[in-house]
Symmetry: C2
Subunit: 458 residues, 2 copies
């Protein structure tokens, strides 16, 4: 019996999408684990619909039978939200990869859920526009997954996260009903904001099949600077000053002395600026050349040292010190990745306090802290503790909650953070979440292990 | 019996908020009708809680007894969404008028629901910041009402509507549960976006009691220009060109030859520029003086004539021609106010077509068209037809829907547009709306006459 059920699911879904688009056994293996290898599950089959109608048919079939589904995009999530840990069917959206022509008047484009961020960026850039969400997984992460998780990334401080880019959505509800709202109206106060609600719901309320996306003009000039400061507080203050003085600030990344040392050592890179306690990488863009304004503003922050880059190659060289950091940390062991945000007022103090909190739990643990400083968004990576020893995770998240912060700034709750959701949201909010979940997915088939977990386990 | 029920409601609510804060009879009259006089109802009482706990107590009491409630802010709505047309209790939020200190690091402030937009703007400006939603009713409209209706206004093209300013919300659910999420975290992917969902729900899902709001820096320079063009299409093209060439464009208002003539005649104002078919009022702001860039960009659009104003008095003089237009139309009779948006590609063609569609219904009707052109948001005011003759409304909204537009860009559905909701949202979406409404307000006490109407009447 244990094998008969999965076989019948695969066979039934093959009738809906074609036998070639239903993967089982070894062919499904790549969809059963996340890219970090931390979350590994098993699925009766991976179903790969090629149209929104096929997505609707698959969901209607699963809904009628109470078969749970995990929607999956580029499988680049970090919280176990896209893999079948409880034997769910994997609904892969990667074949929905159509990309519309650029609408220059509206500065918009319609993208299928399966389009990768990198492809979307290239498409926009070819028309002198750009899609203003950027993140390191750009060549794998898909528009659908990014919408479902409200992805943030490097430029969210200037342009907001994925939710801020959505001008409409096409999504399939649990019962197979299709919400089709891709007209791209900027102003449309005609009912509840379904697009914004589905965005960030981590596949638990609906399956995103396409999105109408806002585009920004591609700036004529872009300047990047890396500066070292004598303290974390000085670096944070500098980021705010540059924001206030240099219009067009689009990124402000903070990292610490040990992070820069690690990158320099791991990749045998030259030291970009003199050694300092904290580093700030900022990027300013605009129609007019912002180099002078940025340099003047940075100089006024009294840095230990600073390097300013204008050309794209020199800029990329500076970005390496930030972008290689995640990979370099991975060389130190499998990190516990905590993605938190703090109120502006609590940010500076949090850095030493979280290091102390981690040490108190495990004096062999090592903290690596970096992040999007003007969003108050810090990535706290901890190496040392065994992968499934989550005492350190608990200590960090409890400190964050105590300071009024978020236990998940960008990555979502997924499965990994579910047990700590109560730190972030009060009982009234969680009850409202459950009511909304039940309203849109009464049989609980959409990613039931994620965010709230099954209602019975609450 | 008919009188005993209302008296008992007032008495019971007086126990919760104090007798002085429950208004009945003549004292309630101002809350029973909207400011246009189009919507007039009757309430057993107006209850004016002074704290969020009192709001919660009032709602819990009403929820237990199935007593319907209309939340009311500054009562400046245009679609009958804030008045007790079916004998509801009026829940006035104006006493929740506390305004927090400015958080300059985060560029945020916490505002009670009852704070007027004008007071919020003044408060921000006193600290060198600004609240980036602006609209003509600024001295009456409140933060709570603006959040509940996702207000747009003059600068939405640059900064987005109210929803884009929300960094957190405090709201009371129908059962009296309080969602308290005012920490101001910019990034917080920990569950569903309740703030965004409540925003624009027109008081049907929860009652907003406070909001954490994003603020923008106050620009050092501001330039306004009024230009005339030989056609509507030329004016629209000019607006897009200025947007692309002059960074910092914050407003682009279109109006037509007859609108300018009407303002000039009604208020005996000088003609600001040579006569043209269509006019564009644009405003550009920035840290650097944008006057030269704006003038150059405008010149390249080949206007019939243009006036550029830098000083605040001259700028205000130009704004009059746009801001007095609504009032001037009112002098022609009670207008049918239709607030629609169109896809960018459909905007130019819509102007003559809607005039033709209105004439076809009633050849004595007169269209006055103006609006926020870069949002595709046009206000179509029609004078001539009797106030309750809605054939013209139907003709305009059907044309809008046929062109892929929105039947309510900014104002909301309220009661006035409810019968046309099906033009804007398909049956799957409306079903999802009903499910969400039932999930959060199972007894249907929150503004039941608005948006969807009572479930039984669907």
């Amino acid at each position: 019996v244990g094998r008969a059920v999965p076989r019948s699911i695969a066979a039934a879904l093959a009738d809906l999408v074609g036998a070639r688009q239903v993967l089982v056994g070894e062919m499904a293996a790549g969809h059963e684990r996340d890219w970090t290898g931390r979350f590994v599950g098993h699925t009766p089959c991976v179903v790969r619909p090629g149209t929104v109608d096929e997505v609707a048919a698959v969901l209607a079939w699963c809904n009628d039978r109470g078969v749970a589904v995990v929607p999956q995009g580029g499988n680049t999530g970090l919280v176990g939200g896209g893999v079948p840990l409880d034997g769910e069917v994997v609904l892969s959206l990667t074949r929905l990869d159509s990309l519309g022509t650029l609408d220059h008047d509206a500065r918009q484009v319609t993208s299928g859920a399966g389009v990768t961020l990198g492809r979307l960026q290239d498409h926009a850039r070819a028309g002198g526009l750009r899609f203003a969400v950027d993140l390191a997984a750009r060549d794998s992460a898909t528009v659908g997954g990014m919408a479902a998780t409200n992805a943030g990334g490097l430029q969210a401080m200037a342009f907001g996260p994925m939710r801020a880019q959505l001008r409409g959505i096409q999504a399939v509800l649990a019962d197979g009903g299709v919400v089709d709202h891709l007209g791209g109206l900027v102003k449309d106060n005609t009912g509840y904001d379904l697009a914004g609600l589905v965005c960030g719901s981590e596949g638990t309320l609906a399956v995103v099949t396409a999105a109408r996306l806002h585009l920004e003009p591609e700036p004529a000039h872009r300047v990047t600077a890396l500066a070292g400061f004598s303290s974390v507080g000085a670096a944070i203050a500098a980021a705010r000053r540059v924001r206030d003085e240099a219009p067009g600030l689009e990124a402000a990344e903070l990292f610490l002395a040990d992070g820069l040392e690690l990158v320099v050592d791991t990749y045998a890179l030259p030291r970009p600026v003199a050694t300092a306690a904290a580093y700030l990488l900022v990027e300013v863009a605009g129609a007019a050349d912002p180099a002078e304004a940025l340099a003047a503003s940075l100089a006024a922050t009294d840095p230990v040292d600073a390097a300013v880059a204008v050309g794209s190659q020199r800029r990329a060289e500076l970005w390496r010190y930030r972008e290689l950091l995640t990979d370099a940390i991975g060389h130190q062991g499998v990190p516990h990745k905590l993605d938190v945000s703090l109120p502006a007022v609590a940010l500076e103090r949090f850095v030493p306090d979280v290091e102390a909190a981690v040490s108190a739990v495990d004096d062999t643990a090592r903290c690596w802290i970096f992040g999007h400083v003007l969003d108050g968004n810090l990535h706290v990576n901890v190496t040392g503790p065994a992968p499934h020893d989550d005492r350190v995770d608990a200590a960090v998240l409890e400190l964050v909650a105590e300071r009024g912060g978020s236990i998940s700034a960008e990555h979502g709750i997924g499965r990994a953070k579910r047990r700590w959701l109560h730190l972030a949201r009060g009982p009234v909010e969680v009850r409202a979440f459950r009511a909304l979940k039940t309203a849109l997915d009464p049989h609980g088939i959409l990613n039931p292990g994620v965010l709230l977990g099954a209602a019975s386990s609450s």
